[in-house]
Symmetry: C2
Subunit: 294 residues, 2 copies
């Protein structure tokens, strides 16, 4: 919860137990028959008949799989496996995934999201970026280490900060649509934070790049992990004095100002209004909800 | 400026001109005799007699260097070079670096910081993490592309979000010292945000892991890039109800609660008080200043 907002992909109950990761003996002690293994189908979760994440035991893992330590709950170790068939693959979300995770409780969604990001990172980071040699999983999956004795490079899971923002002008809010969006959908503008920028600078740059709008008075609203593959969405609000829009057509199909009534209509779930709102799992949905209650 | 705070390593004037990066013709048009090249000594900046960043021309770059496009200012292209001698090296900051950058204006410090992160990333990411093949610089240095025709992996500069927080209990604030700190120095607790966490969750986890303190009511204060090598510092405030501290001795030498008077004394630059404050370039300094004026 942030500012009274329920945030998707956050709120996992498993204790990350950071001190276990670097303690091989403690980690081995948890890697036992009582440990639970997240059941995955590719990178998608298996869901049981009650709509919960399905868990098995370590015996279910492919013997060639690497094990990632997710943490501890009620004295048990929780793990996910980097299965050989995932290695090197790129698995963007698909409609079946959205359907599967739509059944999950907020807590299970958070557990799945964190595990997915980690497993996916291991699947796509097999070699040392510094020297090109093979790397091996280390510290329960929270590091990969180069196998070259001269390099000894250490690599850590990525978290990519992304700004996503509602810009407001005289009671209307700026939303845009990317070419990949289904017809009618609009969302908050967003973009990766670059080296050498603060959050506030990144918000201003993105709004100007994508829509030609000058944003001021940027404030932070809420954050949410987005595990496709490893974003940290940082939700902000800003004001604009000049509503003139110049769209960057390489990024956006369209960008417009929407009234409070239009946003309220879309957020009611209506598909017949000025636009269709993003789903509840997206922080853009939460930002719109927050904006309506201000 | 965020909440009236001057933030170090932010505020660069060079336009990042994102649209140029993906336009080889436009980029080539700026890669000319008028272009300016950041003068570096290793990864440290060269500073002229007026205390400004020193710039040369593209002719100054090693012919074997890769060029990174920093952006455009007054119609000129601005670049930095990834010199062959930097390849594969790890160059943490040293006292000479702190002295050099201590002379820079806020704007030059921001330009240098962004350039340093990018050049350092290229120097340490020469190979495809997915398949191990060599990568080449692409899009003006904002991407590296795998040279394997079957892999075609694309890699982007890292920005690692880090939470740093002042936790408050009955008017006192929690600060800690890492073993590497010079004697007497204390700073805000901090740690990397992990996959599957919101900013607020990461703050609570770090405070509990490092000091055994339960934090509540986390709020965002300010952010700052920290280019050693590529952190985005996300400064927060939180409250604690129970002041009992249990130090994680693998992370911290000490952690204590400091009164407002003790913080004010340290922030005056005094070295004879309860602790010595971090320098102005650190966001921890800005957080302490913000806390005193609340």
């Amino acid at each position: 919860m942030t500012n009274g907002l329920q945030i998707a992909f956050a709120g996992a109950r498993i204790d990350r137990a950071d001190h276990i990761r670097a303690d091989p003996e403690a980690l081995a002690g948890l890697t036992n028959w009582r440990a639970r293994l997240l059941r995955l189908n590719g990178l998608s979760p298996e869901v049981d008949q009650d709509g919960n994440l399905a868990w098995g035991t370590l015996a279910d893992a492919d013997p060639a799989a690497e094990l990632v330590f997710l943490g501890v709950l009620d004295g048990r170790g929780y793990f996910a496996a980097v299965a050989p068939e995932l290695i090197g693959s790129v698995a963007p979300p698909n409609p079946a995934l959205w359907q599967a995770i739509g059944q999950l409780s907020p807590e299970d969604l958070a557990t799945y999201g964190g595990a997915r990001s980690l497993v996916d990172w291991h699947a796509r980071h097999r070699f040392c970026a510094r020297c090109g040699e093979a790397t091996v999983l280390n510290k329960g999956g929270w590091q990969r280490s180069c196998t070259s004795a001269t390099c000894k490079g250490e690599h850590f899971p990525r978290v990519d900060p992304v700004t996503i923002m509602l810009v407001e002008h005289e009671g209307r809010v700026l939303l845009g649509r990317q070419p990949r969006f289904a017809p009618g959908f609009f969302s908050a503008l967003a973009g990766f934070i670059e080296p050498g920028e603060s959050i506030e600078e990144a918000v201003k740059r993105e709004v100007f790049e994508e829509a030609g709008v000058i944003a001021r008075d940027v404030t932070y609203v809420a954050s949410q992990p987005w595990p496709f593959p490893s974003s940290l969405m940082i939700g902000c609000h800003a004001f604009a004095d000049d509503p003139a829009i110049t769209i960057d057509t390489t990024e956006l199909d369209d960008a417009r100002w929407f009234t409070r009534a239009e946003v309220a209509h879309a957020m009611s779930g209506a598909k017949d209004g000025a636009y269709i709102a993003p789903p509840a799992r997206a922080i853009a949905h939460r930002l719109m909800k927050w904006w309506l209650t201000r």
